[in-house]
Symmetry: D2
């Protein structure tokens, strides 16, 4: 059943697969009057593009976007914005040996049970390449957020056992551009990079964690009881391939605390009402409270590894072994940052329109 649309008013419908003709998205519900060019979208796609550093896959895609509709005289016109990226550097040869032998940790087997076939060429629609659609939507969302001075930043906080030390908010944005891992703690970043390269060489992969921060989100976003802001953020983040956990604010740490320690007390001064602490991560009762929104995701290690693994030959109905060749990211965390930013940006824009902070028809 259809499940390729996210958002209730700002709606992103994505399409395309790893080794098909093209991937893309249709963004319906963007108000008219937003300055938007192909460049705005390309900029974000370039962040998630493969092949830009040693820690990512070597698949050589330029991922050039083409905008098909929705822009008139340099501005959005209120109609759906369709944008596509044609696949170029597809090499299905490495996958042929894997046909009919589902890769552990991948969706191959599940797609087979659901659709009675699966695209053995790089996971098809289950590939991380489908996040091109997320990023197209996210690029447009970010342009809308800019008009309200809202910013969404994602940075890597953990790779394997290596955790980053806390870094000042203003430093984070700057520092993540200085290293391939997109970690704000530059010392940890170096260790992380070494770990990734070491595991890559060993034919293995590694997991990690990413934090997403949304700044200047106004209080009042979120629609209880089911479409709460944190609920929608949890959905979009958990839906990104390889994500196995989502936290808001203190997250799992809050399970150890007492109310007297966890509660964020309110205080008022000339700048208005704020909480003293932000243990709740900017969301209370599913509605934003005006503090920075903080989410964290657990990212599992890339399931594509070249070590020998046991699996099943679906046709012969017998146990067998595989080694995955292809080209893969030994750690998905650095590239997932742009997808996570985009995903959260889409949800916030959807809720800004749903709550009346952005007009539904025009800016």
């Amino acid at each position: 059943m259809s499940g390729n649309t996210i958002g209730k008013i700002f709606k992103i419908t994505t399409f395309g697969s790893s080794h098909g003709v093209a991937l893309g998205a249709v963004v319906d519900g963007c108000p008219a009057g937003l300055e938007l060019s192909k460049k705005d979208i390309q900029k974000e796609l370039d962040k998630r593009r493969p092949g830009t550093s040693k820690v990512t896959t070597s698949r050589g895609e330029t991922d050039e976007v083409q905008v098909l509709s929705g822009i008139f005289e340099g501005k959005t016109d209120g109609t759906p914005i369709a944008a596509v990226v044609y696949n170029k550097d597809m090499d299905s040869s490495a996958y042929r040996a894997l046909r009919g032998k589902p890769r552990p940790g991948h969706a191959d087997y599940c797609w087979e049970t659901k659709y009675e076939h699966y695209d053995y060429r790089g996971g098809g629609r289950a590939s991380g390449r489908t996040t091109i659609g997320h990023v197209i939507g996210g690029a447009i969302a970010k342009k809308l957020l800019e008009t309200l001075n809202i910013k969404v930043i994602a940075h890597v906080t953990k790779i394997g056992e290596i955790e980053s030390e806390p870094v000042d908010l203003i430093q984070i944005e700057e520092n993540i551009e200085k290293n391939a891992v997109r970690c704000a703690d530059l010392k940890a970043a170096k260790e992380m990079e070494e770990l990734i390269l070491d595991l890559k060489e060993k034919g293995d992969s590694v997991g990690g964690a990413v934090e997403i921060i949304a700044l200047n989100v106004p209080a009042g976003l979120g629609e209880p009881v089911f479409d709460k802001l944190d609920a929608d953020i949890a959905k979009v983040l958990m839906g990104i391939g390889s994500v196995k956990g989502v936290e808001i604010g203190l997250g799992f740490k809050s399970s150890s605390l007492k109310g007297s320690t966890m509660n964020d007390e309110f205080q008022i001064d000339n700048n208005g009402i704020k909480t003293k602490t932000n243990n709740s991560g900017g969301i209370l009762g599913g509605i934003s409270d005006g503090m920075p929104i903080i989410a964290r995701i657990a990212v599992k290690p890339t399931p594509s590894i070249s070590k020998t693994q046991q699996t099943v030959d679906l046709e012969q109905k017998e146990n067998t072994k595989i080694e995955i060749k292809g080209r893969h990211d030994p750690c998905i965390c650095p590239r997932i940052t742009s997808v996570a930013e985009s995903s959260v940006a889409i949800i916030i824009v959807d809720h800004l329109i749903r709550s009346g902070f952005i007009g539904p028809c025009r800016l």
Copy 2:
């Protein structure tokens, strides 16, 4: 904007508030032909009912349900099932002193910014009492799951710093009925109960964690790329009041692992294809793989504590202090289990119909 409906085909719309006339739910999309009585719903409501043990609030509600529609000659008839619970034991007196003074950790302030008022009487619609709607929906979902032998069980795995030891699956269901905390590790359960009572006496509260297990879910549920099964589970669980984190399978632990350790290898025998391990928690690429589905939630400590807290007088626009009297659960974990079960049951039923395992019109 409207946000009180969950599910795409099996749709639960809930209504009502803590101190209003009644709470309830309309369940649209339940196939005809399911045997269903008031008793089936009452049974589940009794599990979440307040006042049943020392560790819960003393609000004395019988929470008797009345079914208004959707059942004909003992079976669902394919039309919407509406069910209501009238509020009885409402005591707003304790809340009057809190009027205009938002409680830390609660949604009061956020509702004020969003709606320019908030129901100071026990949180209004932001109260945990609104989960009566979840449980009505969940009760009907569970009856549908029974026809496929699918079971959803939630148990408390952590209160404060106390963690339960792993317990055999078959034992879990039995053990949680033996203690007020609904923890399957009976030794830990005793310590947890003591901790809760101790903090209650001190006017404080405590957080915890709950694990939800869904057994016998067939492979093939979940609609990539946005309506993945884990994404929808994450949404519904994060949307429960007080939940600050959601994990699937190994969850945050997977962020420390290598691919060679994390991947669940496939194997085939006479019983079909299974994975050797279940690190992924029964979901790969957003689609169920036939293994038990495992989710975990982090529950923050109840924000209602009787210790003095700092807040703001919204009318006087000045800092002030409050002490919350009322009747509250010192720890929400034991009662959240039934809500979590219901929430996951609703999502699984929605996806069973979406994927064709249950017919949309009749059983």
Copy 3:
């Protein structure tokens, strides 16, 4: 599959059946701050109530509404408004003879094929009584429309072969209150009433037409290309039981015209831009143009007639005959006016919020 909700943002979910416990609606998405009382809803329900004149059914329902949620201190609070009407005067005895023998022109047979049963007691959910839900939603919609000075009026323009002469807009509202048929042409009204009573006596029924006018609707409502204003109006009106046709503006007459006759030319004066004529019925390209919105519906004769009719005995699988006793409206047109008004009011409110004319959270 679920189909009991109308509206994308202002969402009405209805439930209940002709001979069940109760009927009602949940209205989700009504902004906070609207003055609303039980009386506002009762007033509209009284308009559609049966048994108020010789031309309607004699079923004696007071249709007293109870509001369960969504109102706080006399105003809507932004949470779902649930309202119910308990069935009182149910007499299923007359229907027993019809069990298993689907009535011609009714939905009985279709429900049997779809759900493998049907509620033989007055049509169950297929009964006109389910429009109580429409009217609850409509009553709240009309209160919102009042804040923008928008008015929706429905009047009977045709019963059988008798057509009403055009009446001045200001006269329509007044005149329809003066006769049981709700026809603005008082002379035609008298003839219509006589025709209905004559056919009632003969055990027959008659069809007719109803015109719905919405005044002061601002230009700019409607979301091409699928959620056009006229498309949504057509859906909600065609969905009312017994409606077999919907027209906007000149409707089917436009099929005979030339462009030079049909086009409404624009002109500007001190009051702004208006069209000289209103052949388009206030909607162009699916978007309102600021002129009165005019829709017309064709209403088929009530299928319940006491004349002998041929049908099938579903159990014996043989042809048989029935005579329908029960209590029925010999012509549904007079009572359908309130349902049609409510239905159009709901759609207009939904689009007013969708287009930003009414804020989604609060007035």
Copy 4:
């Protein structure tokens, strides 16, 4: 707000405008396993293509479709099918004179009020060219219908005052291919063609009516009380540009009838249960009854005429006059047939999946 998607499970999202880069659709929710090629879509697009006869516009588009996703090894794979048609023969020159002067009968003025701009180049997204998206969706829907032997046929029944005589069902499909007007009554077709050409020469246009017939639709489709089959058909048809009325079965004629004349009596024989007549047009209580579904639409005359018309200069805020040059269909009816067929096919497929006649995941 977003409104470019139709269908609840079989979802078509369309994009693009008359003079933009491209137009297209994303079809989400098509089950896997359907044989589908570019040719299947091209065939349907060729039917609505402009420039194929004297009675249509001379815009010379080949409308060649490119399929971007959703087909794997010759079959649908369960993922979204994206298809695009690039605009080629765009000539905006004729429209420049019309800038800021909304054309009577067109959506220009309404878009201006809604979005504070409008695409003066051929109506932009309000152009009939956007129905390329409908036809892409319809082509895929028709392939699904073929697997159940369901057929949707549209034919012109009226142009201006000329009405076609009834033609045998089996003859309709054959005859409409024999004339440019797509009218099954060949004598009337000739008169219609002459009328159209005569009015074209005079710089005028003319309206008409189209009947849509769906054969072999099983009983049981439609989701009361709001998502009834006729309600959804009414929505999709009324949403096609220029449509001002929709009828099911006898439609407006039923408003003149008595119950004893209108009701379709049931009878049973060896072929099962059928109604003797089909006055209801195959739908009772919003659910299909197994008889042919019959709908009719009123199509207004093309608003683009070259006769002088009065309008307003939006910038100068004064009355002015325009003559529309461009290339237009003097009568939209012949080309609207393929759009109407596609639209109804989409709705039927959506309901077939919603009701379980087609599996949601795979054929």
